[in-house]
Symmetry: C2
Subunit: 206 residues, 2 copies
């Protein structure tokens, strides 16, 4: 079937959110760790991180509008630091639970089995159970004027990962990780390796 932009606009709100949130494909599932100025460790699941560049190592991430309290966005604005941690098969339920609207005085870490861990004095909490941890420093927050969201740009300042999880070429070896991937707002999947292809050069493959 063909759906027009007008028809999308007329869909029931929740139906449209599920459709558009799930339409691009599989998304990275990350836990974002921050600390409030009051010292409360916050943790929130995000599926909107995106690679911006390797040198310097820049990562983008979308925050929803702050017409309601957004603890992650507020904490990043106030402290300029946050962590990105992989969501794994063993912890996906706890990770999903961090999307509940807890008050700012409650740490998601105390409400789930996830454990905050400090690394080298980095000013935001990492998730101990996560096999891939990154510490980022805020670079810029770009307001998206069309819908009130924010595109948060950060630079990776620290990576914690077991060396055995890296391939010789620098890539993460996903065959050894139990990292999950998300679709839509509520669905989790595991992945299985198909192929690693050589650098593509112009030639017909027909």
């Amino acid at each position: 079937m063909i759906v027009s932009g007008e028809e999308i606009g007329q869909f029931e709100k929740r139906y449209r959110a599920n459709l558009i949130n799930s339409i691009l494909g599989y998304k990275p599932a990350n836990l974002i760790g921050t600390k409030s100025v009051e010292g409360i460790n916050n943790l929130a699941i995000f599926t909107s991180t995106v690679h911006l560049g390797a040198n310097p190592p820049l990562i983008g991430m979308v925050s929803r509008p702050d017409s309601v309290p957004r603890h992650t966005l507020t904490n990043i604005r106030n402290t300029s630091h946050y962590t990105i941690n992989h969501l794994h098969k063993e912890i996906y339920k706890a990770g999903h639970q961090t999307s509940a609207k807890y008050s700012a005085t409650v740490s998601e870490f105390t409400q789930t089995d996830l454990t905050p861990v400090s690394i080298n004095g980095f000013p935001a909490p990492f998730v101990d159970q996560s096999e891939v941890k990154m510490g980022l420093e805020l670079v810029e927050i770009i307001p998206i004027k069309q819908n009130g969201t924010y595109f948060i740009i950060g630079e990776i300042k620290l990576i914690e990962i077991d060396h055995s999880l890296l391939l010789e070429d620098g890539s993460l070896d996903y065959s050894l990780l139990t990292t999950v991937t998300a679709t839509g707002l509520d669905t989790y999947h595991e992945a299985r390796f198909i192929d690693k292809l050589p650098y593509a050069r112009p030639q017909s493959t027909k």
Copy 2:
């Protein structure tokens, strides 16, 4: 092991690119269809699309710097339209091949088994073999000044999908799709459903 920002900066260029490109987790694998002002159909694989909002349905996407020719970016600038098509298991090799540096006068469609298809006169080509096709109109191109990349924002104006691939709540039924997911610059995976969780409400799960 713990890697510092300084150490990341000292890694060999290709090693660093593989590491940072693969560090966030599983990424959506999409084929972006555009048409040049000369009428050449262009197709390029992107793994940087991100959901920006459902109402209006806005999608973000990262383009690398245009210090060298970027046909997709140029065509979107010139025509304000592009398509996003899912990459499936049957076509991932052809999709990867579109990353080769063909000249602007050569259509990736003529160099692979992928077939361009026109839908309702939309001014950019869709991929016939893709089970999920979207047509977008450009909203804004935001230059990322830190590294010369561009964040391209578009609004979904058309969706082509078989109705049987949608769940009752509007989500795509990924158990029926052979959509692949990518890690890094060259690796493809298939995914398998684990769980669809209820909307999370504040309560301890400890």
